[in-house]
């Protein structure tokens, strides 16, 4: 088990004594054999966190524990980790087989045994026909496999993947993603992947830690992240096309609660009303484009004018504006619906699918 307790990483600037916090107090627990992802926009501290787990960077504050043992001062080579870098970082002067055997040779494993193991792992990753090539003679996908083999050959306790697939084309990414997942299950190695690709993170891992500004915003299963976002950042960050966020407030009207914004009035269903303290606060409603239906004008619907219709292939993306407002609302509709720009239609919000965030309290989700 890996534990991070209040881990902080600061970069000092000697000249103006300015201190930047790349990682600002991270708590994380990763169980044996689990596959977790560190996800976030660039500069959120995810790679820094990974580097601290690897031991390539020293934490300024806090503790990192492997199986209950503090490893803060331990050198990378003593941590029993395998690592794959974004650039693959293959040794350019060594043949593929020598690259794979390198970690074992550095551990003073006898030559014959090291090369035997290297060959076995190469077979597992289907690169045994490339063993005599130099890295420069390999394609990106092949290099990625060699890097994986090199990371796994020493049978590490932890596998660290630093954006391992961001240099590959989309199709190859999908194949490799499945393969990495399969391999990880087979070996049972605890794995941490750093990525900025949310689809990749959600698809591949058991749990995802979403980071922003050096802090974990939410650490949860992919399902919960998407369906029960803890705050506005998570809601906004996950999902394509992105969630619609409309700012307004909740008011009371005839004993019912109503979300009101420019051009939008939506009566909240009685089982999803907010606590009294949030009434009157600046509140944003979050609506996934898939959770809005275009319908006949009835009670509790919102009239909108269609501005743009985009074909996504399997469905169409509608961009519409409320008749009395100026914010764009994105709606995903079935291809069968014949919709044109300039048309006025009504939209209905699926009753149990909307989120409300209190903007006066850091965008916390007040309905979950």
């Amino acid at each position: 088990m890996i534990q991070l307790k209040g881990v902080v990483k600061e970069y000092g600037n000697a000249k103006n004594k300015e201190v930047t916090r790349a990682v600002d107090g991270i708590d994380l627990e990763i169980n044996q054999g689990e596959f977790i992802a560190l996800l976030g926009p660039s500069g959120c501290g995810k790679t820094t966190t990974l580097m601290m787990i690897a031991g390539l960077l020293k934490a300024t504050k806090g503790e990192i524990l492997f199986d209950g043992k503090v490893v803060n001062q331990m050198e990378p080579k003593d941590r029993n980790i395998g690592m794959v870098f974004q650039s693959y970082a293959l040794y350019p002067h060594l043949k593929v087989i020598d690259n794979i055997a390198f970690p074992l040779r550095e551990k003073k494993v006898p030559k014959a045994e090291a090369y035997e193991k290297a060959k076995n792992i190469a077979k597992k990753l289907q690169i045994e026909n490339l063993l005599n090539r130099k890295p420069a003679q390999l394609s990106g996908g092949q290099q990625q496999r060699v890097a994986m083999a090199r990371a796994l050959v020493k049978e590490p306790q932890i596998l660290l993947l630093d954006e391992p697939m961001s240099n590959l084309d989309a199709r190859l990414k999908l194949d490799l993603r499945d393969e990495i997942r399969k391999l990880q299950r087979e070996i049972g190695v605890t794995t941490i992947i750093v990525t900025h690709d949310q689809e990749e993170a959600l698809a591949i891992s058991d749990r995802v830690a979403v980071l922003d500004a050096g802090k974990i915003q939410q650490y949860d299963t992919p399902y919960n992240l998407y369906h029960k976002p803890k705050n506005l950042f998570i809601a906004n960050f996950l999902g394509t096309p992105p969630m619609n966020i409309v700012e307004g407030h909740v008011e009371e009207q005839d004993g019912r609660q109503v979300f009101a914004a420019e051009g939008v009035r939506y009566m909240l269903p009685q089982n999803r009303e907010v606590a009294k303290e949030h009434i009157g606060c600046r509140v944003a409603i979050g609506l996934r484009p898939n959770d809005i239906r275009i319908c006949e004008s009835t009670e509790n619907t919102i009239p909108v004018r269609i501005e743009l219709v985009e074909q996504l292939g399997a469905e169409q993306l509608i961009k519409a504006k409320p008749l009395a407002g100026d914010h764009i609302i994105r709606i995903v509709a079935e291809n069968e619906m014949k919709l044109k720009a300039g048309e006025t239609v009504s939209i209905r919000i699926l009753e149990n699918k909307f989120h409300l965030f209190n903007l006066e309290r850091n965008g916390i989700n007040i309905l979950s």
Binding site: A54, K77, M83, S87, A89, F102, P103, E106, S139
Partner: protein, 289 residues
Amino acid sequence: MFILPFALLTLTFFILPAIATVWMSFTDLDVKMKPNFIGLENYIRIFQDYSLGEILQNTIVYAVASLGFVLLLSLIIAISTQYFMKGKTVATGYRVLWLIPSLFPSVVFAIFWKYIFDPTENGFLNKIGMHLGAVDEPVSWITRYAMPIVILGTVVGSVSSNVILLSSSINSIPEDLYKAARVDGAGEKSIILKIILPTLRWPLMYITITTLIGFVSSYFFIMLLTDGGPMHDSTTLALYSYQQAFQLKYYGYGAAISMFVVVIALALTLVLLRLFDFDALVQPSRIEE
């Protein structure tokens, strides 16, 4: 068409002098400026020259020892400033210090060395030595240690440009490679031997070839410092050629000796290229799906 002017320049200044030298080496051209064709006589004379053995030996000692020290020093400085102290101001400053010898004209530097090793009691080394009581009377350093001093001066003067070349190569190694190596359990020794040195293979080849040829064919610095003396103790082949041609005015014989130097330099280049497996560099890399 467009390269014609340049081709003419090349012809006038590079190729014609080369041909003239070759031609001269087959004549008895001297101060009378009346060349007579004498065939291979000059070349035969080279091999009959009683000082040839000593001079050839000096050339080898001078070139090989200087090259060895230059390579070793450049590597140590480049690796320590660009790998161990990467990005530190001190490291850059230190590299700049090494540039100083190549900034000054070698004449100035030769005077500096002459002052240090001056045989009178006013020489720097003698002053210090006598002050500390290490020597009782002034030592004529240059007479006694002519070759080591010449090598020392040469090495100090040629390290800096090589350091720059090697440093930039080390700088081009991606940071991830060091990180990967550290995760893979490699120590500093492995990183230097298995990552940095292989990267430096081509720069090292370039340095070895150019400096070696430079040492074999240059005489300027030795001339300034010791003028090949005492006797022929620090005379190299290139210096000997200069002395024969310009001091003794045996132009034809001097030309023949310099031809000899050219042949040696060419042979060395070919051997070194083979040694470094130059073919591997020019071969294109192969990428297959």
